[in-house]
Symmetry: C2
Subunit: 563 residues, 2 copies
């Protein structure tokens, strides 16, 4: 490609609102331009990178038997109604009506569509496992788009869907995808951390994100520095014993000064750590209107996501209002750890780590002390509903550290979530009976992956593309082009490289200084810079983008290396 | 690919509503499935064909310097308002609002978007010519979708946009695209006819369609059997002289029986051919409300499209109503060829081919005769506003024949249509001045091209893919697989072919008869069928899909041919 003819030339300045390195560099180097907030033109250089990323993904997916296809982007809304997802997605669904008055959703994810196409075939057990995928546009009606390609409203996603006969076979497929993702990102040049995550609006029971560690990432996760990585929302941790050796004392209602209202007041008044007190947090299920009181040790916070999973009410809980509290006979700051009728109590695992809790039945001038699990505070089960934090302890004894990263891919167990809700989402098993599919799904955002690469590979001069995803392998620069002999030499080098099937961006401009050409080459970030000039004589100067030294080689030598 | 694992197996029956060969065969052979009317899943076999078609296009486009990029699919509606296209497109535009209340159009064609991205760069004359393209989803809110991929509501299109400094340079680019399209379709195996067409909602002055001749096609065109092919809407033809040698007689108002009302009545009464009478057709411009009377020779019909171009009022004319006629002081059947005030008269070229016209001033019991152009009937210019028909004559003396075909691609001159309407759609010329772009655009529908191939290449057994776009090159069939030695032999052949980088669909099923396997192979239509069975001994039976004989070759020989 002649740089003089390239659409998307470099510019000196990034947009004033650009904060992220990837946004600035992809803009300045001519890889992207914004259409409207969160919707980007991918310019020719950017499109070449996207295609290389897609080809790496395609190759690895095909290698493990996945099959590429393509689904429409306008999904009949009736399908989303079948799974009751029209109101429960995490992203706002965009809807549109055609002129025959049929409603569609603009695909944000395509589980229903893939179930729909598979069920048309009524597959046999012999067709399973089945893993089908596509590269297709996805739409997310994000309230806030982020600068550059990291959080956008429209993007290409590789989304794959697996269909198995049972959980055991699914787990083999899940592991296969896990390993395939590892290979894909490694080939792209990205070191990823696999982070246990919440499955959110997708449904199913567990999932994992592939995260590139980065301080500008939007994903916050906890790691024990060993092998355990998890989102705050799902991280499991050990509730260390506080005073389990202490003797159980008789339950007592005592007088308490009226100024003792908050947890901090309690700590001050009793001169005891937060962990000795009971804490209550009240939610309302916005669909059933049921009131839920979560009871937890005073030093911990309730994790709403975990609580929703315990209650099988994903996306349904909201903070209770003053009116809701009044309804069950109480008010803010005076919720009891037991006894409010009409409310459902859920206790956290931490309740078993303390003897003689303080609190739980606060009134204006009194509260309870020596409250003990099993005697005063009764639950059939305790659940893990607490929010893990930096410093929380894993079984290994290691403490969590909080890290940030960019989510570039994810794998989801869906189980029977969709096949139970959608009609005829079945295969015919060996015994001739119809059984529902056991499903999974697997996504990779293409633009975000490109941006993540730039976040990891750049310096003050520009991007440093890994060879596997670079828009071109060689950036050929001709200098002193007014000299016809040099001009003809560099054009010869260009043609020779092309004839060998090499990918070359050739800066053939005659009205630009050497300094500008070098700066553009550094900004664009192609792996090998080749220079032909008066100074290089019969040879070609070669420099790797990420190295500081150059060497002179002959065309023959350069070319022989290639063939 | 193992056929046993392929998603999208063959089925015996086509959908009951399938009429077209391509619809039936692509469905039965497992290339496509309908989601909702006009929106299709492209199954793995179909996606492989689409990708081959796209790669052929990509290669040829890149060869002539076009650059691939990608534009968002949701176009800010404000851009379509800039060009006043929100109401004038030929297809119904689908619109959608995001939750920040911003309106978008679902892209049906992307002229505005590409102008918008190019103007962000304020290019120099040195950057021109510029030709940028994408493969992207297009949406058309068609009232009626047609079975299969021939007329759909959502499809992948290659759309390219060229930017030149002036008409002269544009014409070079237009010819380049014309030739490139020829090469593309030739490589795909399609013989195309280039048909001059109306540019409709795209804007600009002229355009050409690439049409595959087919009786099931929706495109009707006229051909002189030589080099001239044109849509009915734009076809130019010669108005043969009727009686130009006749002496001009004095204009006269004569009595005429009341029963003479229609053109047929005239022919009967005067015993003269239709061509001797004047005909008037009345339209209203629905935007300006202006009344237009088109005057034409009695044997010809007015072509509304041509008339709209003459008036620079594309998409604006409608048939005049009785009320409209009353407004200019007349009624149906009594419109005059001159003299109605408030109406604009436009005359067809054919008016110069007749002397002593009959008609033009019909009243209840009278009409005019010996009406002559220039004396009684006055126009500053005559225009080509007549509809060509089968039998109309070209200058060459050849008569038009009507043919039908499938439009697989089109190329459009846009001229200054967009750059004049959109702000800053300019480049900086040599003299430092800003000048508007001279533009063109170029489309190819991917799915429709696939369907056109099937319409051209099939027999009663199924599809016969040209090798260049076949989903696989080899269809390997294993028979007698209960015999372990044969099973291992066919698997060895499969692996050997794969290791040589060959594309093989391997029918490894053990519970299917030879007959079924052969029938499936014929239906799917892969170019080379390879059979390994007891009967083939140490060799492999090879049969081309479009030939009736087989031959036995050794694996070594087959393989040596490939390397």
């Amino acid at each position: 490609m002649l740089y003089s003819k390239l659409f998307g030339k470099t510019v000196k300045k990034a947009p004033s609102d650009a904060v992220l390195t990837s946004h600035k560099l992809l803009y300045q180097a001519g890889f992207i331009r914004e259409s409207t907030a969160g919707r980007y033109f991918i310019l020719p250089l950017g499109q070449r990178v996207q295609q290389k990323i897609m080809n790496i993904i395609r190759k690895e997916m095909n290698k493990v038997g996945a099959q590429e296809m393509l689904s429409p982007v306008l999904h009949p809304l009736s399908l989303w109604e079948e799974t009751n997802r029209t109101n429960t997605t995490g992203f706002e669904l965009m809807k549109i009506k055609d002129r025959r008055d049929m409603w569609f959703a603009l695909g944000g994810t395509a589980e229903e569509m893939f179930v729909d196409v598979v069920r048309k075939f009524r597959p046999s057990y012999k067709d399973l496992p089945l893993n089908i995928y596509q590269f297709s546009l996805k739409f997310r009606d994000e309230i806030r788009a982020r600068g550059g390609l990291l959080r956008v409203r429209e993007f290409i996603m590789k989304d794959a869907y697996s269909f198995d006969g049972d959980e055991k076979n699914f787990k083999i497929e899940y592991k296969k995808m896990w390993n395939t993702y590892g290979k894909i990102f490694e080939k792209i040049g990205l070191k990823t951390i696999v982070v246990k995550s919440d499955n959110g609006y997708i449904g199913g029971e567990y999932c994992h994100e592939f995260v590139v560690e980065s301080n500008i990432g939007e994903t916050t996760f906890l790691t024990d520095g060993n092998k355990y990585n998890a989102h705050l929302d799902v991280a499991e941790f050990t509730r260390e014993n506080i005073n389990t050796g202490e003797e159980i004392k008789p339950f007592k209602i005592i007088e308490q000064p009226e100024w003792v209202k908050t947890m901090e007041d309690n700590v001050k008044h009793y001169k005891l750590p937060k962990s000795r007190f009971l804490k209550n947090v009240v939610y309302k299920n916005r669909i059933t209107e049921k009131i839920i009181i979560a009871v937890i040790r005073g030093d911990l916070d309730v994790n709403k996501i975990k609580l929703e999973h315990v209650l099988d009410a994903v996306g349904q809980l909201e903070d209770a209002s003053v009116a809701d509290l009044k309804n069950i006979g109480t008010k803010p700051g005076y919720v009891h750890s037991w006894g409010h009728k009409k409310a459902l109590y859920i206790g956290d695992l931490s309740l078993s780590t303390v003897k003689n809790f303080i609190g739980g039945q606060k009134e204006k001038k009194s509260d309870a002390i020596n409250v003990n699990l099993g005697r005063d505070l009764k639950f059939d089960h305790l659940f893990d509903i607490a929010l893990a934090k930096s410093g929380s302890i894993k079984e290994s004894g290691k403490k969590f550290i909080e890290k940030k990263g960019i989510e570039v891919g994810n794998i989801f167990q869906l189980g029977y979530h969709y096949s139970n809700k959608m009609k005829n989402a079945v295969f015919v098993d060996k015994d001739g009976k119809e059984k529902p599919f056991y499903m999974g799904c697997y996504g990779i955002g293409i633009g975000r992956t490109m941006a993540a690469v730039v976040e990891k590979y750049s310096d003050e001069k520009g991007i440093i593309w890994p060879e596997s995803v670079a828009p071109y392998k060689y950036h050929l620069i001709g200098l002193d082009l007014k000299d016809e002999s040099i001009k003809s030499k560099v054009h010869k080098v260009y043609k020779e490289l092309l004839s060998r099937g090499q990918e070359v961006l050739f800066d053939d401009r005659e009205d630009v200084t050497a300094g500008e050409k070098f700066a553009d080459a550094d900004l664009i970030g192609i792996p090998y810079r080749l220079v032909v000039s008066k100074r290089t004589g019969d040879k070609i100067e070669v420099k790797k983008r990420d190295e500081n030294y150059t060497k002179l080689v002959s065309l023959d030598k350069l070319v022989s290396k290639l063939s």
